[in-house]
């Protein structure tokens, strides 16, 4: 829990900054039976990033990395929209479910391909997934034929823009996926095996772990998460844009994982940390809008904040900078822990 104190503290600090600049920032109200508010929006718009980052967490825990998630987001969205656009009735639930199935199946197949290149062929993960990162954009454009496919399907709209039980549907999807991963990795033994392979692949093989299969499953799962994120993004705007959907999301996702305290060197991973990391990035984006940072400097501003966040996270940096001032008991840690419980 202590590991999560820093990301949680940073998230709270960012939210407080927003409170200063935006009145009623923490206010949540019910309109037409739906929850509304800035905090809900952060969750809602952050949902695709959280999903992608969760998949990325497992990949990074195996000492790998998946650069292709952005392309998979575009491909999944394009495939779903293409299928729906050919339906006789775009509101047919069965037809939409079929389209979703085909899109997610394609995403998983692409993930298996990544895993195959990494585990069986033995290509370094950054190169293996770079292939799909580049080729995937082309594939997405082939699917959409270079156009932006626009659809008009109410059931599909639900995924990214709809509400269920007063909550945005995207949040529910994230909650379900998070619960599933947490169960499989922490209640069952998958987490231990992933951390073991990431910590020492050869020792794991000699201990009888089927590391090849494990890697393929992890990459496939990461692609599945990206696929679901792709459906959310395309559903939210009821269209598929092969060029721009999920652009650079892989970098935000990697960042979220790192901010959440999972090391790029593999091994130990933290799902809670990743969720916090993704929320930090989403909050930062919101903050940039509410602060009124000029659009041409937003990227620079974001990079600056991320740098500070990463430095604050590093125990070595903290020791260097705060050593002289922090002689009395460090006050930040207990405050952070309280926050952890709430999130």
């Amino acid at each position: 829990m202590k590991r999560l104190a820093w990301p949680a503290g940073i998230l709270v600090a960012l939210l407080l900054v927003n409170l200063i600049f935006t009145d009623h920032f923490f206010q949540i109200e019910i309109k037409d039976g739906h929850l509304y508010g800035s905090l809900i929006d952060i969750f809602r718009f952050g949902a695709p990033l959280i999903l992608v980052a969760l998949g990325m967490t497992l990949v990074i825990a195996t000492k790998g990395i998946d650069l292709s998630v952005g392309s998979v987001v575009a491909i999944a969205g394009a495939m779903a929209c293409l299928q729906i656009s050919t339906l006789p009735s775009q509101d047919s639930i069965g037809g939409v479910l079929g389209a979703i199935g085909i899109a997610l199946g394609l995403a998983v197949a692409l993930g298996v391909g990544n895993g195959f290149l990494v585990a069986i062929v033995g290509i370094q993960p950054i190169i293996a997934t770079l292939i799909l990162m580049v080729a995937g954009r082309g594939l997405a454009q082939l699917i959409t034929d270079g156009q932006i496919i626009t659809i008009n399907s109410d059931p599909y709209k639900l995924i990214g823009g709809g509400y269920w039980l007063t909550l945005p549907f995207g949040i529910i999807i994230v909650a379900v996926v998070l619960a599933l991963i947490a169960f499989v990795t922490r209640r069952l033994a998958l987490g231990l095996l992933i951390e073991s392979v990431g910590g020492n692949a050869e020792a794991s093989r000699l201990s009888g772990i089927r590391s090849h299969g494990l890697l393929i499953v992890v990459y496939a799962f990461c692609a599945l998460c990206a696929g679901i994120a792709g459906l959310m993004i395309s559903s939210n705007v009821s269209s598929a844009d092969g060029n721009n959907a999920g652009l650079w999301i892989e970098l935000d996702a990697i960042l979220a994982v790192v901010i959440g305290g999972t090391s790029l060197a593999g091994g130990r991973f933290s799902l809670g940390g990743t969720v916090l990391g993704a929320l930090i990035i989403q909050t930062l984006t919101t903050t940039i809008y509410s602060l009124g940072v000029p659009p041409e400097t937003t990227l620079l501003f974001k990079a600056l904040v991320v740098t500070i966040v990463c430095l604050l996270q590093s125990p070595a940096f903290r020791a260097k900078v705060f050593r002289s001032r922090r002689k009395p008991a460090p006050p930040t840690v207990p405050a952070g822990e309280k926050v952890t419980v709430r999130t």
Partner: protein
């Protein structure tokens, strides 16, 4: 006797859980070759690292030429005149000999390197070592021995008063060793004090004037080489271990139980060999480093693939493709390479301990936490793993305790054949004795053990029979009866079994 150039008094150094050096005194006279002796883990390398500024000391003091010094890094020690040549040559084979000698401190004028000056001075230095080679040629052009001497030339150019040679001969052949010794004698005449570490006793007796013996981080004593017979030296190095293990010294009677493993002309990265292992039998594998001991172990565990031959385990003919397959047949393999092939450093003792069991059960059937805690508590107690905190990261344990955790990882599976590759290397004497005792107990309980060790005493003490390897070939299989001694084993290794 001349005044000591280097004097270390009451040196103490502690690592978490281990007292690596405990009140060690050490002195070095100018113009002598001084051997630092001791078993693995006796504190030799710690002492050298303390002396060269890699580690700081917890207690004691170091005096160099009468001045008290406290080095904070290797560079500082080097500037003060203490130079080190390590076992592996740390030079750039693609650069010329002269560049290697002067790398990082090239003679310059106006920022430009003075190549001619550099070559002249390099040639001069090497002449000092009686070495006439072309200094403009790349280092890789020359043999390992010459490369070693280039490293020495580099070390002594920094006005060295103390030269430390850490196992310089381990990869040299006899002729090259003679060449190195000539150079060492020359440096000695020039008044340089040489600290020499080697595992080869004959070399020590040839070159060293005096020696200091360490055991378990403590000083045993300082001796003049010519006055200390080899037998006494070995006795002082192993010390209490002999006494502690005398109980185990009864030779185990040969086993007549059922055959468990039968390899017939099995080959891969070793020449085809045949070997049988009975239930409850301890089979020792003896041979030098690189003689194929580990390769045999890996073949029997499915970590490598067999190219030829057949393998029967428990009567069934099997083809092992993965360690997993071998585990399913009841084979367990504890690698000699703890760090690369054993430990998952980021995980806790508990997680490391149950890893193989969990791997066998697969991801969907976790070992219940209660069962984990029971198992872990049981093995921490049985193997005396310290500290007995299952939630500690394994990388914070000492080598011996890490080894015990890895052993426990396999014992949990209750294997039929346990392959132990150098299980006692680099761990302290106490842990060593515990592991040896454990092997005897396991064997009495019916488990077959393939025991690999470079220490012939240990192999003889534990094994029912010994297979001897040389140059990746199994050359002899000897029953462990009264006629088998370490001398006989050494002779067999040396002669390749041809009598």
């Amino acid at each position: 006797m001349a005044e000591a150039i280097l004097r270390m008094t009451g040196i103490g150094k502690e690592f978490p859980g281990v007292r690596a050096l405990d009140g060690v005194d050490f002195r070095l006279l100018p113009g002598e070759v001084h051997a630092l002796m001791g078993e693995n883990g006796a504190g030799k390398s710690t002492l050298i690292k303390v002396l060269t500024g890699v580690y700081s000391i917890d207690s004691g003091e170091i005096e160099l030429a009468g001045d008290r010094v406290a080095f904070t890094g290797p560079l500082e020690a080097q500037k003060a005149g203490i130079s080190t040549v390590y076992q592996e040559v740390n030079l750039c084979p693609n650069l010329s000999v002269a560049e290697n000698v002067f790398i990082g401190r090239e003679p310059r004028r106006f920022g430009r390197i003075r190549w001619r000056e550099m070559r002249r001075r390099a040639a001069e230095l090497l002449t000092r070592l009686d070495l006439a080679i072309d200094v403009a040629k790349p280092l890789s052009h020359y043999s390992l021995a010459i490369q070693q001497m280039v490293a020495i030339a580099r070390a002594i150019d920094v006005d060295a008063r103390v030269l430390i040679l850490d196992e310089p001969t381990s990869s040299l052949d006899a002729g090259e060793v003679a060449q190195l010794f000539r150079v060492m004698r020359r440096l000695k005449e020039q008044g340089i004090a040489i600290l020499f570490v080697s595992h080869f006793l004959d070399q020590i007796y040839e070159i060293a004037d005096r020696m200091t013996i360490l055991r378990n981080g403590r000083l045993v004593g300082e001796y003049v080489t010519a006055e200390l017979p080899q037998v006494e030296l070995v006795g002082k190095m192993i010390g209490r271990e002999l006494a502690e293990l005398e109980r185990l010294d009864e030779r185990p009677p040969a086993r007549t139980s059922d055959t468990l493993v039968e390899a017939t002309e099995l080959g891969g990265r070793v020449a085809p060999f045949s070997l049988t292992i009975r239930e409850g039998e301890v089979v020792g594998l003896a041979g030098l480093l690189g003689s194929g001991r580990t390769e045999i172990a890996r073949l029997l565990f499915g970590a490598d693939h067999a190219a030829t031959g057949t393998l029967r385990i428990g009567g069934d003919q099997v083809t092992l493709r993965t360690p997993r397959g071998a585990m399913a047949r009841g084979v367990a393999f504890c690698s000699e390479n703890r760090r690369e092939e054993g430990l998952i450093p980021e995980l806790t003792v508990r997680e490391n301990l149950i890893l193989a069991l969990q791997a066998r059960r697969g991801w969907s059937r976790p070992v219940p936490r209660k069962k984990q805690d029971e198992l872990v508590a049981k093995y921490i107690k049985a193997l005396n793993i310290r500290p007995d905190n299952p939630e500690m990261l394994i990388r914070n344990l000492s080598g011996g305790n890490q080894q015990k955790v890895l052993l426990a990882r396999w014992l949990i599976l209750e294997p039929r054949l346990l392959i132990l590759d150098e299980p006692t290397r680099g761990i302290d004497v106490g842990a060593k004795a515990e592991i040896q005792k454990l092997v005897v107990e396991l064997s009495d309980g019916g488990m077959a053990v393939l025991f690999i060790s470079a220490e012939l005493d240990e192999v003889l003490r534990l094994s029912h029979k010994v297979a001897v390897l040389r140059d990746r070939r199994l050359v002899a299989e000897l029953p462990n009866d009264d006629t088998l001694t370490t001398d006989v084993l050494m002779e067999t290794i040396a002669s390749g079994g041809a009598k």
